[in-house]
Amino acid sequence: MTLTRREALGLSAGAAAFLAIGTKVSFANADATEAAIMEFTGGATPAEGKISLDTPEIAENGNTVPVGVTVDSPMTADSYVASVLILADGNPNPAVATFHFSAISGDAEAKTRIRLAKTQNVVAVAKMNDGSTFIDRKEVKVTIGGCGG
């Protein structure tokens, strides 16, 4: 019988790819993530608070990780969330999604599922109608699994 490593241990293909490429890529992706944040904020450093990410501590399946984001905002014509940028700083391409809102959105909440190649930070940045920006970051671990109990 021949088993591939993946069959034997449930290593995600993404993690294997990461190992083959090595750590330089992860620095490059961290840079790309910073660059994407700066482009979104127009060069300003986003503040902490108002935005909160909801992610699992450890992904059950790195290929489809549920990610939720909520921004604290009255969502009125005077004060609303304009958009939220989601990034994954360890993926080959950090860009994941941008959600656009308006005052009539009611709540500034969004949920999606994303693929994570390996253990990394998921980053969410909110841009308000007045141009101010807020950031949250959560580490999500992508693990081989097994052996627990």
Binding site: M1, R5, A8, L11, E57, T119, G145, G146, C147, G149
Partner: protein, 565 residues
């Protein structure tokens, strides 16, 4: 007291045989302390409400030996804090006399010698006696019996009946609620079928439907006991679909989801709960962190990591209770509830010394009945062990070494990997190894022993990954299993370092050569979480090995070096 006299005589005889001052000391102490059922069970009652907690029974219906860990490291903030204290340090911390019954129950020091005198522990008929007695003493309407899960798995009979032997026995004990972990390894359909028929609540605040991301289980339940409203929130093992096969429970998602627990605490309080209890399978460190972050939980009955602590650990006004495993302990928590608060508590971690506690006759008969169809198989002798065989501890135990040896020889491999489960009973030097004993170490629903080729790089990555699941500084990133057991390869581990930097000096033991990251090695292992894994069942592999080598002799493993702590 059916065997107290025999018991004390045996103790005296053993101490005479050993002839050491130590042995004489503890047998005398035992006599002085009068190790009787009354002494084990009696406690000064407090308040009107009693919680009885039992957890991680792992399907052990009959008395067994279970050696507590000699190494159980805590990393980061929990370094040196209970339960990460073992041996003499543990005895000192809790002011327990070495060689005493409590010392033997709670630590591994002199395990084999003391076990000869104190006898086996556990047995659900003895547990039944304790539970009945507490109910009689406190009054049925004042007691809640709560099962923390890992109840249906861990023995031959549970595996062949898909947990039915345990379900039958537990139903007879009439619990009020349970939560789960290994229960889920019988698959989603079986679990659903059982829960639909269960005469009590199966609670899981953190189990969600995968498709619609909606709660899939009853999260909490209100009980009226001892004149108080008691809310019990259930928390299943958060990493079930990662540590165990996700394909067996495709419709369910887990996770810690502490915000859900906070929501349920608020709901319970708004519905008039005087007391909020979290019946948890999170593991000790996860529950300690959770207690510090979620307000308003009065008691956490923790499970999963199999820790047994003689006193609650108090965090943010929450009593965290750790009740051991394998039916070796039952916890009694008395609560004095006043104005929606715990005004006082009493706690007793009751060790179930099976030669001291009289079996409950009804339960003994029921256990015999559920085991009867399998008795001939269970009793079959496979070999004898000259060494103490055990698993529990952060790194290779001797029972794991036996399994790894069998994998290497029977599957013609260079290196063996065996999961660091915390279940698995112990055998004393001189004991027969029966079919039942072997299955106590490996009975589960994904037993295929694979044979595969892996590079040195891959092996290192596996050790790093499992090491991080155990030693991550943030408990929320821990999965609660111990380190993967390795045969045929030695390594050094620095638990305090980060992932990728813990494992060094990987060495192929057969040649003494360093493991080459680029080179492929033949690896045999079992308990892969992946669907479609092929190979013979691990128990057949180990049985074949023991049949060929019927006298087992295994010194403690020296091929794992722990540094930096």
């Amino acid at each position: 007291m059916f065997s107290r006299r025999e018991f004390l005589m045996a103790a005296t005889a053993t101490s005479a045989l050993l002839g050491s001052g130590m042995a004489g000391n503890w047998s005398r102490l035992m006599a002085q302390q009068g190790l009787t059922e009354d002494a084990l069970l009696s406690m000064q009652p407090t308040g009107n409400l009693t919680l009885i907690h039992i957890t991680d029974i792992h399907a052990q219906l009959k008395p067994i030996y279970f050696r507590e860990p000699s190494i159980n490291l805590g990393i980061g903030d929990v370094e040196g804090k209970p339960p990460h204290v073992t041996g003499a340090d543990f005895l000192k911390l809790y002011n327990i006399q070495p060689g005493s019954p409590d010392a033997h129950a709670l630590t591994s020091d002199d395990f084999a010698a003391l076990a000869q005198s104190y006898g086996k522990v556990g047995g659900m008929d003895r547990v039944a006696t304790v539970i009945k007695r507490i109910r009689a003493e406190r009054g049925n309407d004042n007691v809640l019996l709560l099962d923390g899960g890992d109840t249906w798995q861990g023995s031959y009979t549970s595996n062949v009946t898909e947990g039915q032997d345990m379900i039958t026995v537990m139903n007879a004990l009439n619990p009020d609620a349970m939560t789960g972990h290994w229960e889920f390894t019988y698959g989603q359909d079986r679990v659903q079928e059982v829960i639909d028929e269960l005469p009590f609540a199966f609670l899981g605040s953190n189990i969600y439907d995968n498709e619609w991301d909606e709660p899939a289980f009853e999260a909490w339940k209100m009980f009226e006991r001892g004149g108080s409203k008691v809310a019990v929130i259930g928390q299943a093992f958060p990493y079930t679909p990662i540590a165990n096969p996700r394909w067996m429970i495709p419709g369910w998602s887990f996770g810690i989801r502490e915000e859900d627990i906070a929501t349920h605490v608020e709901e319970a309080r708004s519905e008039g709960a005087d007391i909020v209890v979290l019946l948890s399978h999170n593991g000790f460190d996860v529950d300690r962190k959770l207690a510090s972050r979620v307000d308003g939980i009065d008691v956490i009955l923790t499970g999963h990591t199999h820790d047994a602590l003689p006193e609650p650990v108090i965090v943010n006004n929450t009593l965290v209770i750790a009740s051991g495993s394998n039916g070796k302990f039952v916890s009694r928590v008395d609560l004095d509830v006043k104005d929606g608060k715990v005004a006082g508590y009493g706690y007793r971690l009751i060790p179930i010394f099976s030669d001291v506690i009289t079996p409950d006759a009804e339960m003994a008969a029921l256990i015999d009945e559920v085991r009867a169809p399998y008795e001939a198989d269970l009793a079959r002798k496979l070999g004898t062990t000259e060494s103490l065989l055990y698993r529990r501890g952060n790194f290779n135990g001797t029972f794991d070494d036996l399994i790894c040896q069998a994998l290497i020889e029977e599957r013609d491999a260079q290196i063996a990997l065996s999961p660091g489960f915390r279940w698995g009973t112990s055998l004393l030097p001189g004991q027969d190894i029966t079919f039942e004993d072997l299955h106590n170490a490996c009975a589960m629903t994904y037993p295929a022993a694979y044979r595969s080729k892996m590079t040195g790089q891959m092996l290192k990555e596996i050790l790093e990954d499992v090491g991080d699941n155990l030693f991550n500084k943030d408990p929320y990133y821990q999965q609660g299993g111990d380190m993967v057991r390795v045969g045929g390869m030695g390594y050094t581990i620095a638990p305090n370092r980060d992932i990728g930097e813990r494992i060094t000096d990987m060495t192929l033991l057969s040649t003494g050569e360093a493991i080459d990251p680029q080179k492929e090695y033949v690896v045999a292992g079992w308990a892969s979480v992946n669907e479609g894994t092929e190979g013979p069942a691990i128990w057949d592999v180990v049985e074949n090995h023991i049949t060929k080598n019927p006298t087992v002799k295994l010194p403690d493993n020296k091929s794992v070096k722990v540094v930096g702590i």
